[in-house]
């Protein structure tokens, strides 16, 4: 057993989100400031108490602008975590570390993104032709979906996975969104036929294997476990946290190392479970990063819910669904059916499960795994109530 370290030393005590939509009018900085102030109000903590600010390297709103808008005092810790969708849990984890090590008493993590109405990042080719893009982009491997599609085809070949398994994932998270009035797909049920007949984006991936394009922002507030006990909501304790970058990994195009189908999740999981008092069999509910449906299959294997190559079978018989499954996944609808805000809504949904307030509340849930992007250097959080 590793030293106590971060274990249960801090908790997420406040969360907030904007509406999720294809287009929101306010600029990203206004959305960011609003959710940070709202998350503080949710916690019952004055924004002037914030001492740490943590975000993504891809975050367009900067600490100095947050501070001069929301009226902070001294900020004594700030950090950004890289690699896009791999960052989310790392952002919260670093905020928790700042609190646990005494660099700040209150920390805020946030993500504000107008991806729904803004440009698609892959259309900016001038920044994408370097390493490793110079080896891939000229051949028309242009978008994240193409890059993950290539890995998915290999996965299907090695393990006998089929489109039905990807559909199991997409349908499970859609059903959860259909219970969540805040979800972009709340009133859009999806049948297996709908899935099978949707248009291709990059074979073997169809439209419904992809995340949504969303304008939105979210924030959460982290403080010490001692203080958390006296605040407004039941604390969601940060039980364990890890980041993961495996040997000779290449971001999004992990085709070049010895074993491309064991990605960052495996590296992250080894540290995460080593730092935890419990294992995957004790996880009641999981929020797994789902920019694309096959990432959930890889994460199920990487975090040890099943063995390598067994994730397709693990999705069968509604096993990922609320009410029937042994491991309900993405209970708000996740990135594919609630909102795609670089996975930050998976974190806040994990907090809701620990509070008992999810729209697909897992009865008596005491533990939740939240993961960030697979296929990129990643991160994960184990929350407990």
């Amino acid at each position: 057993m590793s030293p106590a370290g971060l274990r249960d030393a801090t908790a997420i005590v406040g969360i907030a989100q904007t509406p999720f939509a294809k287009h929101l009018d306010p600029p990203e900085i206004e959305l960011a400031c609003q959710v940070i102030v709202d998350a503080c109000a949710d916690a019952g903590i004055d924004p002037r108490e914030i001492g740490a600010l943590c975000s993504y390297t891809m975050e367009a709103t900067e600490e100095v602008d947050i501070v001069r808008n929301i009226g902070c005092g001294d900020i004594t810790f700030f950090s950004q975590v890289g690699y896009g969708g791999g960052a989310g849990c790392g952002v919260v984890g670093q905020a928790a570390m700042a609190v646990a090590t005494g660099q700040a008493e209150v920390a805020v993590a946030w993500r504000s993104r107008k991806r729904g109405s803004g440009p698609r990042p892959w259309t900016n080719t001038s920044v994408q032709l370097r390493v490793p893009g110079q080896w891939t982009r000229p051949y028309g491997l242009l978008r994240p979906v193409d890059e993950i599609g290539l890995l998915t085809r290999r996965y299907m070949h090695e393990y006998g996975a089929t489109r039905d398994h990807l559909a199991n994932v997409a349908i499970a998270v859609r059903k959860h969104a259909n219970r969540n009035p805040e979800a972009m797909m709340y009133d859009r049920p999806m049948t297996r036929d709908d899935y099978m007949q949707s248009r291709w984006i990059s074979e073997p991936l169809c439209l419904f294997d992809n995340c949504l394009e969303t304008d939105g922002a979210l924030a959460c507030v982290i403080t010490s476990a001692d203080r958390a006990k006296d605040l407004r909501h039941p604390p969601a304790y940060v039980h364990a946290f890890a980041q993961g970058l495996p040997p000779e990994h290449q971001t999004m195009v992990n085709y070049f190392n010895d074993d491309p189908l064991t990605g960052p999740a495996w590296a992250c999981a080894r540290r995460l479970w080593a730092n935890a008092d419990f294992g995957p069999e004790d996880v009641d509910v999981a929020q797994l990063y789902d920019a694309f449906s096959p990432l959930i299959l890889l994460s199920l294997e990487g975090y040890g819910f099943c063995k390598r190559g067994e994730a397709p079978g693990f999705t069968e018989n509604g096993n990922l669904e609320w009410g029937t499954g042994s491991l309900p996944v993405n209970t708000s609808g996740g990135g594919m059916s609630e909102a795609y805000v670089h996975g930050f809504n998976l974190i806040t949904e994990g907090v809701k499960q620990m509070r008992g307030t999810s729209t697909a509340q897992v009865e008596g849930a005491e533990t939740c795994l939240v993961t960030s992007g697979e296929g990129v250097p990643t991160s994960a959080l184990l929350l407990r109530r």
Binding site: V131, T136, P138, L142, R153
Partner: protein, 167 residues
Amino acid sequence: MSNAAAFSGGYVANRGPSVEGFLLPATDEESIGFFEAARRGELVVQACTACGRLRHPPRPMCPTCRSTEREWRPVAPTGKVWSYVIPHPPLLEPYSSVAPYNVIVVELDENPLIRFVGNLVEDVDAPLDSVDPHGIGIGEPVECVFRTFTRPDGSTESLPFWVRRSG
């Protein structure tokens, strides 16, 4: 200029797309030798001259023995399809006009841990959609051909493409 600068983005020659608009590599000091060999019709892979390990994509240091001594080593230009994907629009022009097309990953016969991303085409100058993408199979034998692209300023770039190989 140092290799470190190349990897921090300090030195990258992005001389723009081809006449047809296809994206071309933004070569750097670490990759330029590969594309010079490609111009001669030769497939090369970076090799560590200390321990002999091949590595791709190229980089300044060998992750096995940490030597920075490296050279370009010719390899047999044959391999097998390791995986493939079939992009559909929305895509950038001119890719969208030939979609759906295939993008493949090839593992080299000489060393299956060396893999290249490319396209499977009917012959060296055939368009990206010249092969029925639904007829591609993982494990199919392929061989390398070099396609030369010309930029509007007259400069050229040669890239490995892949064609089917019998047996």
